[in-house]
């Protein structure tokens, strides 16, 4: 039986009904090493009296979108303060610290 099995494995095409060929290959994927994930901060319960920052990353047209969002905020949530901010695509540590210190929540975008 053992010899028959070996013959089936090494002579592809022989005894078609039972023959098989196995390719054993190495996994090309690199293992990902990363630290522990973090959950987002708890959400604010509501918008009344809160400060909302809109952070525009400078991509074309994002300023128009955020201007439109500010209009809607002002009409639907008149007691919410909206602050328009602008910066690089990747928020700098200084800007992140400032936002954390000065506003209750913020929206980042947009373009890609």
């Amino acid at each position: 039986m053992l010899w028959a099995g070996i013959l089936i494995a090494v002579i592809p095409g022989w005894c078609m009904a039972e023959a098989s060929y196995t390719l054993e290959v190495m996994n090309p994927r690199g293992k990902i090493a990363h630290g522990p994930y973090r959950a987002p901060n708890p959400r604010i319960a509501g918008l009344a009296g809160k400060k909302v920052a809109l952070y525009w990353n400078g991509k074309a047209g994002g300023d128009n979108l955020f201007a439109a969002l500010e209009e809607i905020f002002k009409s639907k949530y008149p007691d919410t303060m909206v602050i328009q901010t602008k910066g690089t695509h990747q928020i700098s540590d200084e800007m992140a610290a400032r936002l954390a210190r000065e506003v209750d929540t913020f929206i980042y975008g947009v373009g890609d």
Binding site: L23, G30, A39, L47, V52, F106
Partner: protein, 472 residues
């Protein structure tokens, strides 16, 4: 919360995971409307109204347990994959389908990376299979020598190419190299992989007619091994986290070539970078894709007549035109401003041998060509805007203009002065002599200051080779 378009939603989720916050809330705008309507407040209002309630929900709805209780360990993976079919051909086909379905391939059929094949590839280097070369962005997959060998085997590379592939991966995993931008940006940037020194000839790389084309196993599979390594070690995939909108020319192999040293009147490129002539080196550099900082072509090829001085002038004019608009960003200093590349440009000239020979006859060395292009591309002091003058002054103060070049700018910042747009000719104009007779000269360019790291231009000495005389 993050606001993006539906076309970039997978990318945003992937980036959130890469930055260790996989459950960051994301609201999607319809791409089909956003990109056309964003040009005016009037047109974008309905798009904003349509997502406003989702935005409010993202800001105010409490986090679910799934959003809060998230793991953080890397996933385990099977290191040996077994594929069984009725015969070898069917197993090979099944393997290719399996790899592509898992996003482990590049769309072309692969060579099965069996243990024997990988061992064969590893025979080309003295380096240990377990040695960690670095991690590959965006997902920071660990690049060991063995993992790179697996990808080189898949690419169809030969062991004697492997030291070159390792040197490229060393350059790309250098913490100062901005791989995020070249591999992920919507601008579809590309990579030059330029081999200089004797190993290019020894492994039969094409450096003559058709050097960016097909037909040479070394050029094709060195580049493809790097491409597959970027896919599998960086965990890249188009329209998921590689957002190059039009892909890239030579996307499967990048722009991989060897300098044509036999036809060059000058020392090899790597000598200009401080290496010895007998060394073999590989230069890796990001260059523009379509329509951003993309290239230009000079010379007449088989059909046109040209003269060397005129080509140098044309190149200089194009350098001035493309670099002029960047002067204001020089004030950004030497560190990258995350997400915002700029600060002048780096030029890469793939110079046809005839042009180098003609220039040599006129008394030009590589250095003199660099200096001449810098001189001819300079702009008049009177043409600078006040904010450009202050940006140049700031660039001197913060060292973005290196000390050995500062006096050039200080002397030129006055009426009648000519301000170079090429900050450091020796480093910012890179000349490789490559191609056949006749040829064309190509100019490619990229930001001098990459957006997410200090540079996008590295050179590495090839070492550890066991099967070639060069690169040992």
């Amino acid at each position: 919360m993050y606001l993006t378009t539906d076309q970039f939603a997978k990318d945003a989720r992937s980036a959130a995971e890469d930055n260790l916050m996989p459950t960051m809330r994301i609201v999607e705008l319809p791409a089909r409307r956003y990109y056309t309507d964003r040009g005016s407040l009037e047109r974008i209002r309905p798009v904003a109204r349509a997502v406003f309630d989702q935005i409010i929900a993202a800001l105010t709805q409490p986090l679910s347990p799934e959003e809060q209780n998230i793991g953080g360990k890397g996933e385990e993976q099977e290191e040996i994959i077994k594929i069984t079919a009725e015969n070898y051909d069917l197993a090979l086909e099944k393997l290719n389908e399996f790899f592509l379905k898992n996003k482990w391939s590049d769309g072309l059929p692969i060579i099965p990376p069996t243990r024997e094949r990988v061992k064969w590839i590893l025979s080309g280097t003295r380096r240990s299979p377990g040695e960690v070369i670095g991690t590959v962005k965006p997902k920071n997959g660990i690049a060991t020598v063995e993992k790179i060998a697996v990808n080189a085997a898949m690419a169809g590379a030969k062991p004697e190419y492997f030291p070159v592939i390792l040197a490229v991966m060393e350059a790309l995993t250098d913490r100062n190299y901005d791989t995020l931008h070249v591999m992920l940006s919507s601008g579809s940037f590309n990579l030059i992989i330029a081999v200089s020194g004797p190993i290019g000839k020894e492994i039969n790389m094409n450096s003559g007619i058709g050097y960016l084309g097909y037909g040479y196993r070394a050029n094709s599979t060195i580049g493809r091994a790097v491409r597959l390594s970027m896919i599998n070690l960086g965990h890249l995939w188009p329209a998921e986290n590689d957002m190059a909108l039009v892909g890239r020319a030579s996307s499967h192999t990048f722009l991989t070539f060897a300098e044509n040293q036999e036809a060059s009147p000058w020392a090899p490129y790597h000598v200009s970078q401080g290496f010895n002539a007998e060394d073999s080196c590989v230069t890796v550099a990001t260059v523009g894709g379509y329509g951003t900082t993309g290239g230009s072509q000079y010379g007449g090829g088989a059909v046109g007549i040209w003269d060397a001085e005129s080509i140098v002038k044309q190149i200089a004019e194009d350098v001035r035109r493309s670099s002029r608009m960047e002067i204001r960003s020089w004030s950004g200093g030497v560190s990258p401003t995350p997400g915002s590349g700029g600060g002048a440009s780096k030029q890469f000239l793939l110079m046809m041998p005839e042009l180098a020979i003609e220039l040599d006859k006129l008394g030009y060395t590589r250095e003199k060509v660099q200096e001449r292009i810098a001189e001819l591309s300079a702009v008049r002091y009177e043409d600078l805007k006040p904010e450009e003058i202050s940006a140049i002054q700031r660039a001197i103060e913060v060292g973005y203009i290196p000390e050995h070049r500062a006096s050039v700018y200080i002397n030129a910042l006055k009426p009648g002065g000519m301000i170079p747009v090429v900050i450091d000719p020796a480093k910012d104009i890179n000349i490789f002599v490559v191609g056949g007779f006749p040829g064309y000269t190509l100019r490619m360019a990229y930001y001098r200051r990459a957006p997410y790291a200090l540079t996008a231009h590295q050179i590495r000495k090839i070492s550890g080779a066991t099967l070639t005389e060069a690169g040992r």
